[in-house]
Symmetry: C3
């Protein structure tokens, strides 16, 4: 794909501010400001970084407002991030579209319903009673368990495993090697051994959820483990049985959400965060990376540290921890000064 | 499946305490006390929560002893958890039993021995010399390496990979996308590069071990990595080379057990716990979530924090850490008071 | 494989120090000093542990220099670790070599180039335009995306997924269930929902890189996520989009490297380490297990703790944290002593 600056401006709905002739420069990809070349468009998401533009070799720049003194063509848009996504899609490397239909190496069970435009790739195994919505792509090596239902326009990448009785909405993306609907880690210790509590519930993944690679989402004991619409999950994340996650949450890599936790809408968990089981995290609360949350937390808070406390307080505690050597020395000095005063006092008596 | 309350009581060996007529109420599933409906049986694992029963819509309740003032039918059993497991099994959604025999898309090597009732599903690859015991189910997409031996009544879920020369006992469950027998992370730095130390040992997984999804169990350099009978492992857990785990341990999600660690029987590791390599954890010791254990630990202890110390002590340290701002202020005040006293003393002299 | 001690010495280039007759003892494997039997060779990597030799049942020992008073045959080499690797390779259990050619169950796209000696095992799916170098083994169930290029002498174990437009060098090992080239976790919040930023970059994995099982390496937004030559990565590790890792780094299990981090050559990350996004770790720096690194770090340093600080300082802080109960008590005592002095002072006035 190769467009002129002017053509690109039209495609992303930008106002073009350029010197005569510059509008015809050819652009063939998007690049970061540091490395973009003459045939690349770059972007300025934050005007405070505008100094970096001066040294950039980019052929054009997407900006949120016209910037004085910039020589190269500016594509002025209302929302730089949104226009950037549009530009990236225009210049995306062209891949072969998935082949509609069922590959001859796939194993399809009985009573399976496949919507129009569905692609089932090589070595897929789909069990009895599965339903798959229109235009969904089931990547090579995926396994879909009995009676699971997958909506329209979904993409399951290679080797994803979905167990039985799981329900995925529309426009869901699950990346490679992720497991949906595994049995939760729930045991009763009876007569000297751990006996597995049957997990007969399911998993419900709502519309527009995106889950990274090598994640696990366990099925519920009763009812469903639920991931709310628009929530995005990074790689290697653990979502335990009976967890209920609200809408538009973000969960970063290697985080672990224990059994029966309830997350409100818009919750953000940093990388390697751990939540104790059966707690509630209020809507909009953000938990910093590596924090461990032991008890329920209200809405709109920013926590960090283990055990998780208000982020500002955590920073203060950590700062004071670093001063512990000094505090120990101060204690010692105060003790000596007291020794002297007490000795003087004794002397007088 | 639909039973009357009386039928269910007989099936789980409960004594039925119910008003005339209530014994014939139909029950078709198990539900938690908060959401159970009139055709569901609920349970009371802990009598302290009996108040919750009053508001429950459940049609019947499994209890450990008859409770006064409860209107609905009570199924009185000796062990509520055990009866609950029985009830869950009775009402479990019916799934198609695995198809005995080898799917036509599976690739089976030479000298493979399959026991009676074994099911080998689609797209499985079994290498030469593998033995699989009676009634074991090898899920779609599993790969079993050369000369590995799997016992009877095991269940390997979809896309599990077992490398060569591994041995699994009977009644073992391995969930989807887990890797058994990968090469450990052992390198020698020789002439400027990291050279892999060959891992020619194996993995031994004893009877009744259950391993979650997307876990890794590395093979040993020499001898075997061993997981003791009845041990249960959650999702996304790392068990490194030459680790020896005792019987009936519990290891929660995202925990990492480093090379050559030795865990006694009944050890419990919380989520995201990390063990340094080559240490020993005594029988029955419990390590709290996110703790980091640097040195060997005796039996029957409860540790937390990084570096892991006695749980009670850890709580005390953490509590005092939260008081650091106050301690810093106290230090300052003591200093000022000393200044005043010293000034007064100087004045007198 | 069975060799005499003398034959083994020749094979690993060792000088043999043995009593008459001992040179003809048969050796058939390598074993650790504690458990090695009469037909096993053991090794002494560190001369300080030479006392352990006295109690060993090993038939011979590989040493870095002849040790006085050791009865059994000594194989004296310059580099014990290197000789150990050689010996392990000699006695490695013999496995069937991979079958050259393409298994009939594999699905191969158009314009795929397979080098001489390539083995493509069962149920593999290789998309259009893929190139695979000489003698590389693509294990059962692997999926290779469009236009990806894999070098010579690589080994991709079972069920590895490589997305499109990734490039692997030569002598690369990727263990089972690992995902290479998944889309990074990069979203823009636009009009009330998280919109995925397209990731059109790729992944470049250089020569002699080894990656464990169940890892994730995300593709870049622009340009490439890069793993430098000779770097070794353990199991369950997360490498986010646009990360650039230098040569000969070591990254232990469950570590997470966030987006756009840059690691110099020879960096070592302990297990469960987390790096904040977009920071730089200087060459040769070692980060202790479970540490969280928030800001860029220079070269050659040893850090620990969260937030990561100099290892020695971290040990001091942790040590003082453990003394917090004592410090709180000291503060209290100092306060009481001051109370007394102040009371005495008041009395005089």
């Amino acid at each position: 794909m190769r467009l002129t600056v002017a053509q690109l401006a039209r495609r992303i709905g930008a106002e073009l501010v350029a010197k005569a002739g510059d509008a015809e420069r050819p652009i063939s990809s998007v690049g970061p400001v540091e490395t973009a070349g003459a045939d690349e468009v770059t972007f300025l998401a934050d005007e405070r970084h505008k100094a970096s533009l001066a040294e950039s070799g980019a052929g054009a720049v997407i900006v949120g407002g016209c910037i004085e003194g910039v020589e190269r063509p500016q594509l002025v848009v209302k929302n730089v991030n949104s226009a950037l996504i549009d530009a990236l899609k225009i210049f995306a490397p062209k891949l072969k579209p998935p082949s509609e239909g069922v590959d001859s190496t796939a194993r399809i069970g009985r009573d399976v319903k496949l919507g129009k435009g569905v692609a089932v790739e090589a070595n897929v195994a789909i069990a009895d009673g599965v339903e798959i919505g229109e235009n969904t792509v089931i990547g090579s090596g995926c396994k879909i368990g009995e009676n699971s239902i997958i909506g329209a326009n979904c993409r399951l990448d290679c080797n994803v495993v979905v167990y039985h009785n799981c329900r995925l909405g529309s426009n869901v993306i699950i990346q490679a090697n992720t497991t949906i609907g595994s049995t939760g880690f729930g045991y009763s210790f009876i007569n000297g051994s751990h006996r597995l509590i049957p997990h007969d519930g399911g998993v419900v993944i709502e519309d527009f959820v995106e889950i990274g690679a090598n994640c696990c989402v366990d099925r519920a004991k009763f009812g469903n483990t639920i991931i709310g619409a628009g929530t995005k999950i990074d790689n290697l994340v653990q979502i335990a049985h009976n967890v209920v996650i609200g809408k538009c949450c973000l969960i970063a890599a290697l985080a672990g959400v224990s059994g029966s936790c309830r997350l409100g809408d818009g919750v953000v968990l940093g990388g390697q965060v751990g939540l104790a089981d059966n707690i509630e995290i209020g809507a909009g609360t953000m938990i910093g990376a590596q924090a461990g949350v032991m008890t329920s937390v209200g809405s709109g808070r920013q926590l960090a540290w283990t055990p998780a406390i208000e982020r500002k307080e955590a920073l203060r505690i950590v700062g004071l921890s670093l001063r512990l050597p000094k505090m120990a020395e101060q204690l010692k000095q105060l003790g000596k000064r007291l020794d002297r005063l007490e000795a003087a006092e004794d002397h007088k008596e």
